[in-house]
């Protein structure tokens, strides 16, 4: 029977301890569900930047063990929304945590000095890192990969200067171009003076039943590599969405003013692939290789033929946030902006949507050249966009310092709330397909399009209309199902491969017996309810959710979205969640041993 362990690190004292958390994994399945239970154990009124506030990194029983179970989930209190901070990242972190022998790493406390932490199996050390403080997220990885020896594959999680400044838009970057992007984990790491974590180890699970495991593995491998299930991701990637979304008025353009972008062809997945794609990369133990790396070669000397070349990853969300939504139709300009964002370590979506708000607010007169210190903000002006990012990085003046606090904060302070396209405080992702995309962003536990995939419901409903309540129930059902996937912490790109049957077969092949469809569902309901419980404890209320004013005026892929209809469906979703909260309450507070186990 596999054993699951948690490493607890106290940055204040530099001490650590290891706990067996197998019972929690047996009860909750793993990943997001286990981490949520741990987060609920913290006091309700902790400031996101309080030293005691935990960061919980968790993986699941499939992590590193099966193909495409590559993600690690991080839970924390979000400095952006004030409630549940949850972000998922790929790279080699899940594999390295497995190798280190830990399925959970909980970081608490704050170091009195800038530090980084190395975890090499039981060797856990806190090191001074004054000389690393101020380095870009890219440089920090280069330096640590050189500096920290290990016999094993390493994973490096680090922040850039944005995290050091405690920006609630700051990401934590993992290995090559993967990110805990959303909801401000970078700022929380910065508040703890934690520049980086380096994780490695050679521990492993022996295969219990060779025939069973190998047969199941081969089936998954063939589905990943040989079936059409993952084709989209290793072909053009999610960037293939750009043009089709624009065609159905669903590609956010000029701060969500419209869903059609006249320059969509110029920033399409096809254009990026033809002009700039140089390589695909993979997360550890994923044969798909969906990370699309673009190369940009630029002449830097006006008289001599001297060039610089940089590589940067791209996908649909980045192209939307720094492209169509800013009315920038040059892939080269998008890549240059992305490089700055990578170095600073911001979440690309949040900083992009905040820039779009600023341009909108400038044009509406809420912002003036006095705020921007002379810069004129225009859609389509990437050169000025670069200047804005440099000024934010330098903390040029109060306005620029405020910009890295997000669109909702800025709109409250400067005006233009209608045009701050944020849900629950989180800047919106790149789909304006209609009511269910917006409803998903609003009601999702982490205000992400990945919580419940409302954009897919919008598109299906165009062909097959159904009553709102039915679709809201489908949205809710998908949100619950994704609790299971996120407890296994598989990459959601493989969601069509990891069916219920496959999951049960996979658990059984690892010797994790006793799981049934019902038990999976109950664990998912409980996890979802506990997340809402945590959010409500932090002050979140469904009834406070509003559709950003601008989105009520513009025509989405599924037509205009009536705010009253939006509010009715938020209430319908709330009622579904409430019923689950009540049902889950009996078991929510029970110790793991009290949970019925059919074994």
């Amino acid at each position: 029977m596999p054993v699951f362990k948690m490493l607890d690190i106290d940055l204040t004292t530099g001490r650590h301890q290891v706990t067996d958390v197998s019972a929690q994994f047996d009860r909750d399945l793993g990943g997001t569900a286990v981490a949520t239970s741990l987060l609920l154990d913290t006091p309700a009124d902790l400031d996101p930047y309080a030293p005691e506030a935990p960061i919980i990194f968790a993986t699941g029983p499939f992590s590193a063990v099966y193909p495409v179970a590559t993600k690690t989930v991080a839970l924390f209190r979000s400095p952006l929304t004030g409630n549940l901070g949850e972000s998922h990242a790929g790279g080699r972190l899940a594999m390295a945590m497995y190798g280190a022998g830990f399925h959970v790493i909980r970081v608490r406390g704050a170091s009195p000095f800038p530090c980084y932490v190395t975890i090499d199996e039981d060797q856990v050390h806190l090191h001074r890192a004054h000389s690393l403080w101020g380095s870009s997220a890219l440089a920090a990885e280069r330096i640590l990969r050189d500096h920290v020896p290990s016999s094993y594959k390493r994973s490096i999680v680090r922040i850039g200067p944005a995290g050091e400044r405690r920006s609630p838009l700051a990401a934590a970057t993992v290995d090559s171009s993967r990110h805990f992007g959303r909801l401000g984990l970078g700022g929380v790491m910065g508040s703890k003076n934690l520049k980086a974590l380096v994780v490695s180890g050679g521990r492993y699970w022996p295969i219990v039943e060779k025939g069973k495991y190998n047969a199941f593995y081969k089936k998954l491998y063939d589905a990943v590599v040989k079936s059409p299930a993952m084709k989209k991701y290793h072909d053009l990637g999610t960037a293939m969405n750009v043009v089709p979304l624009s065609r159905i008025n669903s590609l956010p353009t000029r701060n969500f003013a419209q869903g059609f972008f006249e320059g969509a062809d110029e920033i399409s997945g096809e254009t990026f692939a033809t002009r700039h794609l140089t390589q695909h990369l993979a997360c550890g133990h994923c044969q798909t290789g969906c990370i699309h790396m673009a190369t940009l070669r630029e002449r830097f000397h006006p008289e001599h033929h001297q060039f610089k070349t940089f590589k940067i990853s791209y996908d649909h969300e980045l192209i939307y946030a720094l492209g169509s939504n800013l009315s920038i139709s040059s892939p080269e300009e998008i890549l240059r902006l992305l490089l700055l964002i990578e170095k600073q370590g911001w979440d690309a979506m949040s900083i992009g949507v905040t820039l779009a708000w600023a341009i909108d607010a400038f044009q509406a007169g809420h912002l003036t050249p006095a705020h921007t210190d002379g810069l004129v903000l225009n859609f389509g002006d990437a050169a000025t966009g670069e200047k804005v990012l440099h000024r934010i990085a330098r903390g040029h003046n109060e306005f620029y310092r405020d910009l890295e606090r997000g669109a909702a904060f800025c709109a409250r302070k400067y005006g233009g709330q209608d045009s701050a396209i944020a849900f629950g405080g989180n800047e919106a992702p790149g789909y304006m397909t209609g009511l269910y995309a917006y409803l998903g962003y609003a009601t999702g536990v982490r205000h992400s399009h990945l919580d419940s995939a409302g954009y897919a419901i919008d598109q299906k409903a165009l062909n097959e209309p159904k009553p709102d309540d039915v679709l809201t129930a489908e949205l809710y059902k998908e949100a619950l199902w994704r609790m299971t996937l996120n407890s296994l912490v598989i990459c959601l790109f493989a969601r069509n491969i990891y069916t219920k049957e496959a999951i049960l077969e996979g658990l059984d092949a690892l010797g994790l017996t006793g799981w049934t469809e019902t038990r999976l569902h109950e664990a998912a309901r409980r996890a979802h309810a506990r997340k809402l419980q945590y959010k409500e404890r932090c002050g979140f209320r469904f009834d406070d959710l509003v559709l950003p004013g601008k989105l009520a005026r513009v025509v989405s892929g599924a037509g205009q979205v009536d705010p009253a209809r939006f509010a009715r469906q938020v209430a319908a979703y709330r009622d579904l969640a409430r019923a689950d909260l009540a049902a889950a309450a009996d078991v929510a507070d029970a110790p793991p041993s009290a949970i019925p186990n059919p074994r």
Binding site: A64, V65, P67, M95, G99, L138, E141, R142, R145, D146, S151, Y152, K153, S176, S177, G202, R203, Y204, W205, P206, I207, K210, Y213, N214, Y217, Y221, V224, V225, Q279, H280, L281, A282, C283, G284, H285, C286, Q287, T288, G289, M293, K311
Partner: protein, 139 residues
């Protein structure tokens, strides 16, 4: 003429480590990359530059020459065999392998010998490695 493992398309590697997982899985019943008899290396700060280091099945292997106890002996057809009982865990063999293809088992403290079985090839999604006919005279 026998088949030996070769890197045929290094630039097509995506760094998924599927080959290393396959080798550990099949030969050691271990879910890890650390029991594999080959290594996919990546480089600090160089995005996506991988170097694949498989055992080349040398006819006169440096690793066997370096072994002070003859625990490693040349195998007919290329590569080496390991007699674990003779291994003194000195690590001279891995030092002698210039491409650093011969891997070290940190748990057993002995080299991990490639059997040239080709299972890694079967689990490479991008044709980076292959079992290639190599005439004995050119090994």
């Amino acid at each position: 003429m026998g088949k030996l493992l070769r890197v045929i398309n290094r630039e097509q590697c995506i760094g998924c480590y599927s080959c290393m997982f396959a080798c550990s899985r099949i030969w050691y019943k271990a879910i890890t990359v650390e029991k594999a008899a080959l290594r996919v290396k990546n480089y600090a700060g160089v995005e996506g530059a991988f170097s694949i280091r498989p055992c080349y099945g040398c006819a006169d292997p440096d690793c066997a020459r370096a072994c002070p106890t003859a625990a490693l002996t040349p195998r007919p057809g290329g590569g080496v065999d390991l007699d674990s009982a003779k291994c003194t865990h000195c690590g001279a063999c891995t030092e002698a392998c210039i491409p650093e293809a011969l891997q070290w088992d940190h748990e057993q403290k002995q080299p991990i010998v490639c059997r040239q079985c080709g299972v890694c090839v079967q689990f490479c999604p991008n044709d980076v490695i292959a079992m290639v006919d190599i005439p004995a005279a050119t090994r």
